[in-house]
């Protein structure tokens, strides 16, 4: 298991929670992002994720470093799944341990925001009557992009 992982198989979130646990940790936050059946009144049949895998794993690791620098004593592991995912399947898991709970919550939320900004992974939604690649339309990450 890699701590910053892009995988084609179902994700076992407990592996990532176990990875970050240490004797110094009083808190572990585990976020799982799931395929949701309804988005803005439209029923999703399934999702397909694609990644630029080597760069995506580098960017996940970068997010981990950002967190460990910003919140002292944290430890991070992140995995994102690619391929076809059904309703309720886990697309992404983020595990953060920290001596105290506040940092574990903040750092975990920071990780998902950063994933949506800088990690080269794309989601295609497939409905009954069509499909579409979803672009987040976020502003470009500062200072590192054209």
């Amino acid at each position: 298991m890699k701590a910053f992982n892009v995988v084609a198989e179902p994700i076992d979130p407990q592996l990532y929670a176990d990875y970050v646990l240490r004797p110094e940790a009083g808190a572990v936050t585990l976020f799982t992002g799931h395929v949701r059946e309804w988005t803005k009144g439209v029923k999703t049949l399934y999702l397909a994720y694609e990644a630029y895998v080597p760069m995506a794993e580098k960017k996940l690791a970068q997010i981990g470093r950002e967190i460990e620098e910003r919140w002292e004593g944290t430890r991070v592991a992140i995995a994102h799944r690619i391929g076809e995912l059904q309703i309720s399947d886990i697309a992404v898991v983020i595990a953060v341990s920290s001596p105290h709970r506040k940092a574990a919550y903040e750092a975990n939320e920071y990780a998902i925001e950063r994933i949506k900004e800088i990690v080269p992974i794309w989601k295609k939604e497939i409905w009954n009557d069509g499909e579409e690649w979803i672009g987040d339309q976020k502003k470009k990450p500062e200072g590192e992009t054209i």
């Binding site: 760069m55 949506k116 794309w122 989601k123 690649w133 672009g135 339309q137 976020k138 054209i146």
Partner: protein, 77 residues
């Protein structure tokens, strides 16, 4: 030669996952404009360019053997 990877909606547009081009010595921005011209419908302003798995700046100069990727707006998570 440089290698160029395409993903997601851009791959649908180009019809290929990768190609190679003679482009060493020119800039990232020149390449982006070149490809936007070659593939009508590519929204050049929303596409980022990665060189060797790192986001690049418009003025970065490409070298022989570089691996480039066109990165449409990401939507992971």
């Amino acid at each position: 030669m440089i290698t160029i990877h395409y993903f997601a909606g851009i791959k649908d547009l180009t019809g290929t996952a990768q190609e190679t081009l003679q482009f060493a010595g020119q800039t990232v921005d020149q390449l982006r404009k070149e490809l936007a011209g070659k593939y009508p419908g590519m929204d050049e302003n929303s596409v980022q360019v990665a060189v060797n798995e790192e986001y690049a700046l418009p003025d970065d100069v490409l070298s022989e053997g570089d691996v480039v990727a066109l990165i449409p707006p990401v939507s992971g998570g």
